[in-house]
């Protein structure tokens, strides 16, 4: 049974410096509130895992919380660059970070292998690219056909944090809309926290609803608007203007730092 806790408690209990942490949510349901709480609690040296680092990891990298980044697409969707991500990789600001990059298919299969407690997943991918030489992928031969395929290692983060629309008081979670890899991330991780827009007495089954039973989750915390500027379908809408605005704010180190202090650290 998941414990229903405050966001502060949940983050403090589950995440320590140096942990590998996956804050997932594919464009939709990105757990901004939880990520910001990690920053307020001063977590450092994190291995940050996310298919699409998005603004959230741009912010965490820019404040120096990341030791390592595992990802597959580091852009500001529809807008352009993630400037803090670029500054860290291109100029080592605020400090250098180690990176491990994959394709989306690779990351998705790595999470799925983790959720299945298998050491690796088999897929068609990476063939002919330079990616293969720069990341953690091997070739494997089909024992039936001899065909050569890609093998990617399972992802098993220390902690997975995802955001959902709602949970009941026993910690059963329901999300709907684009489900991304959240279920896989939760099941692959050693510990898990789910932030939700609201806690309800009873989950009302709904079309496209993905329900995750509370007994495979460690903690659930209420965090209204917890995915903004991303969104929680049916409750909040994606703040596309903020994604454009971030392009300006994040270009300049000082402006970025001031903005984060004012809107995240001291908030």
């Amino acid at each position: 049974m998941a414990e229903v806790v405050s966001l502060q408690e949940g983050v403090a209990e589950l995440v320590s410096d140096g942990d590998s942490v996956a804050l997932e949510g594919f464009t939709h349901l990105i757990p901004f509130a939880a990520g910001h709480e990690l920053l307020r609690q001063g977590r450092r040296e994190l291995e940050l895992i996310r298919m699409t680092p998005d603004l959230l990891y741009d912010q965490m990298i820019g404040l120096g919380a990341a030791r390592r980044l595992v990802f597959s697409y580091g852009g500001n969707p529809g807008v352009g660059s993630l400037h803090r991500f670029r500054d860290a990789i291109e100029n080592g600001w605020p400090h250098a970070i180690e990176i491990e990059e994959h394709s989306h298919a690779g990351m998705a299969n790595r999470y799925a292998a983790g959720a299945a407690a298998l050491p690796f997943a088999v897929m068609r991918g990476y063939a002919g690219t330079d990616l293969a030489a720069h990341t953690n992928v091997r070739t494997i031969e089909c024992p039936f056909t001899g065909e050569r395929l890609a093998a990617v290692p399972a992802l098993t983060p220390d902690v997975a944090i995802v955001h959902a629309q709602e949970a009941d008081r026993r910690g059963n979670v329901q999300l709907w809309g684009i489900p991304g890899v959240q279920k896989e991330a939760l099941l692959a991780a050693r510990r898990s926290l789910v932030t939700v827009e609201r806690i309800v007495d009873e989950l009302e089954p709904r079309p496209g609803g993905v329900v995750i039973p509370g007994w495979v989750i460690d903690a659930v915390a209420e965090a209204p608007k917890g995915s903004t500027p991303s969104y929680s379908l049916g409750i909040t809408t994606r703040d596309n203007d903020f994604y454009r605005f971030w392009d300006e704010v994040s270009r300049d180190r000082d402006r970025f730092t001031a903005w984060m202090r004012e809107h995240v650290l001291d908030a």
Partner: protein, 249 residues
């Protein structure tokens, strides 16, 4: 009578025309997304739009900013998880056409969206692969949409993120790819298509008022030109007004 199309508009219109007979198209954001929505409006109302966020059969009214905008999920026939999208839908080659962009394109339509410069010490760190490598390997065909400059059309990629036709004939077969690979590169100057025999990109059409020389000028290698490159059919009033109505929403 709408005013003259910009080359950007022309590029979108020409891209949309590649979808006249497609059953399904895989698209990212930006111009490809606009082109696919335009195709649904004027050419192919049954066209199935697939976004890697897991939305299959999305029917957005607005051109989405991100591949995960709420409107995509709300209007989709099916919404699937990302592992399912890549394993059950993209990998098996169920999608007819994929639109891709890139920071660098080479003469065999291989793509770089990872780094400019050295991987370990990049001059410019680009977003990375996303879904492109597997999408380009498996979808029925790939149409590349890119701005035509020497920065983009380079003789050698700094990093091979996505294989188009590799090093030429037979490369895709050797790699065990399912799809036919790039069939066109649509730029703001014209259209390049791989030569049937050599697989090398060849200028087969120029947009109105553009000369092959201008295209060569904007290309970082000695560009092959078809015997008599077509001039792109200019946007019809219907195409242009539909496009402008769409982007004004």
């Amino acid at each position: 009578m709408p005013e003259q199309a910009t080359n950007g508009e022309l590029q979108t219109v020409v891209a949309a025309r590649r979808l006249v007979d497609a059953g399904s198209v895989f698209i990212g954001v930006g111009r490809p997304s606009t082109a696919a929505l335009l195709a649904r409006m004027v050419h192919n109302p049954e066209l199935v739009l697939v976004y890697e966020s897991g939305t299959i059969g999305a029917k957005p009214f607005h051109v989405p900013l991100s591949i995960g905008d709420g409107e995509l999920a709300e209007t989709a026939d099916v919404v699937v998880s990302v592992p399912e999208m890549f394993n059950y839908w993209i990998g098996p080659g169920r999608i007819d056409v994929a639109f891709l962009g890139a920071a660098q394109v080479d003469r065999f339509a291989n793509l770089n969206s990872t780094v400019i410069g050295d991987y370990e010490h990049p001059k410019t760190r680009l977003p990375g692969a996303g879904g492109a490598p597997e999408i380009a390997a498996s979808c029925g065909e790939v149409v590349i949409v890119a701005p035509h400059t020497r920065r983009t059309f380079v003789s050698e990629l700094d990093f091979v993120t996505t294989v188009g036709h590799g090093d030429g004939p037979g490369a895709r077969e050797r790699l065990g790819f399912r799809g036919r690979g790039p069939t066109a590169v649509i730029t703001d100057l014209g259209v390049l298509e791989p030569d049937e025999r050599t697989k090398e990109l060849t200028l087969t059409a120029v947009h109105e008022g553009v000369t092959p020389e201008q295209v060569q000028e904007a290309t970082g290698w000695e560009l092959r030109v078809a015997d008599d490159p077509r001039t792109t059919e200019p946007p019809s009033d219907e195409e242009l007004s539909a496009l402008r109505e769409l982007t004004s929403r």
